[in-house]
Symmetry: C2
């Protein structure tokens, strides 16, 4: 087997392992929040440097392969996609850690209302991530595209949670801080969903060589949506 | 002059131009918010696709140079840094657009209190970006490092704004939605500051070959800070 093939397989494995760390961090931080489990939240925070470490190793490996093997065509696309996926995974690790931080903060501001949307949002983005990693491994562009549609569900759950929290604040101003913490949690989960979407787009690009970023955006929709408030 | 030198200069110019678009978007969205200026906010939203277009062109150019010129050493570092800086600039453009969207939304939820922190935060992150672009052009690692320290000021301004908005919500629940909108604006500006920090770290890496990411992070500080709530 070519040396480069072996090295790309190693890179592939490192990325998947990092993806696994991130999926675990999402799961645990959401669990910590639901269960008011401080130890689990601290574990997410303590293990986050491992994700950062992996990010730097992957960047180094990619740069080394670009320099030494001078890859072309699909191998080159794989390496530039790996650099981007790596950055997205690291940011997702940060965001999961922010959820864990809010879980700790919320222990001090107990919040009576049941967290209907949050565990659901967390399991949705986690499942998006796992699907996306499968699509990457299998080279399955359709599976990667299916992740893009799931992001709309995440956004809908975020909007529902926002409306609910706004009512809480208006009816019970003393709970404003807890409600804002929960709104931030939903935003962090939404941003995790956005990063998975980026990765899904990179996977499609890698497989098909077609750049689908920004293809469905409409300026007038954005203005109208801002207008609705 | 070598062909690659000419192409790298072209890439450099494209990145700087994109940085200029982003700096303008930050300035205008903040101005639109302060002045309740809907047209200016719409302009930011309408011009954002130009930033996205530039992002795709830069990615393509970098990939082409990696494939055709097979660069090594500093040229290779420049190209991988360009890929990352490009991604960060595009995200900053998104965030400036989100500020513009909030500016429109806030026209419907007029907010009496003067926006003390927001224009200050906006001009701070804009100045970080411009410094960072200068550091990139001049190859000045010290200047890039000085940007990192400025990010603490941004975080402090965000915290001050948060405390003020929380009081607003508690004292006047009818203004909760406007206050949350403003909190989101400060978060968007803070995230713009984070992206500038990423770019500053890439610039240091490019000049010095030293990866300074994650070097100053302490897990215990994060847990203690979450505990303070």
């Amino acid at each position: 087997m070519r040396q480069l093939t072996v090295e790309l397989a190693e890179l592939n494995e490192k990325l998947l392992e990092m993806g696994g760390f991130v999926a675990t961090a999402i799961q645990r931080s959401s669990q910590a929040l639901s269960d008011h489990n401080r130890e689990l939240a601290e574990q997410v925070i303590r293990e986050e440097p491992r994700i950062n470490q992996r990010e730097m190793e992957i960047d180094e490996l990619v740069t080394r392969l670009l320099a030494l093997r001078q890859p072309v065509a699909r191998d080159l696309r794989f390496l530039t996609a790996a650099l981007k996926i790596n950055t997205d995974l690291e940011r997702m690790g940060d965001l999961a850690m922010h959820v864990a931080e809010r879980a700790i903060s919320l222990i001090h501001h107990p919040f009576p209302q049941r967290l209907v949307d949050i565990p659901q949002m967390a399991s949705l983005v986690q499942s998006m991530l796992l699907k996306c990693l499968s699509a990457f491994v299998e080279g399955n562009a359709d599976l990667a595209r299916s992740v893009l549609a799931m992001d709309d569900e995440v956004d809908a759950a975020r909007d529902a949670a926002y409306d609910r929290m706004l009512r809480v604040m208006q009816e019970n101003p003393a709970q404003a801080q807890a409600a804002i913490d929960l709104i931030f949690v939903t935003r962090n989960l939404e941003r995790i969903g956005d990063h998975v979407t980026n990765i899904a787009e990179d996977v499609v690009f890698l497989i098909k060589g077609v750049d689908i970023r920004h293809s469905s955006e409409r300026v007038e929709d954005k203005i109208a949506s801002a207008d609705r408030g």
